[in-house]
Symmetry: C2
Subunit: 106 residues, 2 copies
DNA sequence: TGGCTATTTGGTAAAATAACCAAGGAAGTC
DNA sequence: GACTTCCTTGGTTATTTTACCAAATAGCCA
């Protein structure tokens, strides 16, 4: 594979890699409903704040979310809404693969 | 986060994780043009056959591609074409990352 | 100022990922 | 059956990812 073409696929893969984690997928899903601050997301996910902060920085570096500092809080929002289209496709991948999602989520 | 909901996001993340690799992204892109056998993909990518085989099994387990053995060859094809819609969105994520210079300057 | 809250960053250990080589089938040919 | 080709699987090693704790930073308010 050509060097330039390889670099192109690497860049694309980085965006997908940023999404490819359950917690980050949850965050994206949540931000699609509106902006949330770090403490809100931490509360919802139920893990260490530092962990959420790092997930958010991965999403920010990928260009998927953007941050807005107001007071002591930092509010994150979805900067590229089209990533939400991934969900419906991912659902259809899972469906075509085998059983419905609710049966998988035991 | 609820146990069931977490399992749901894990399942979704697995699909994205399967796509989140330059070589696998290339394979998906190539298969969108038509079925290819392992040796063809190996030739194009230029790495060990076993590596390509493992990438393909990851994509197959995720439900993204399907295989068809004919003779000694195994032909892979895209089983869920909607994943191609990822590409255009990923491109726009990469573009939007460079666009808002004023926000980056903060 | 000092204390309080919200967030980020550094460090560490465990787990997951990826690439190669080598060995193990399966299917076609002689 | 023996031989070849195509592909998959097991094993090893290097790299990356992830989660937590601890410490640092930033903004508010008494």
């Amino acid at each position: 594979m050509d060097r330039n073409i390889k670099a192109r696929y690497e860049k694309r893969a980085n965006v997908l890699k940023a999404m490819a984690h359950p917690t980050r997928l949850f965050i994206v899903d949540e931000l699609s409903k509106g902006e949330r601050c770090v403490c809100e997301l931490t509360e919802m996910v139920g893990c260490d704040v530092s962990t959420i902060s790092k997930h958010l920085s991965i999403l920010r570096n990928a260009g998927i979310v953007s941050d807005d500092k107001r007071g002591t809080s930092v509010f994150y929002s979805l900067s590229v809404p089209c990533v939400m289209s991934f969900f419906s496709c991912v659902e259809s991948v899972m469906c075509s693969c085998n059983a419905p999602v609710d049966k998988l989520a035991k």
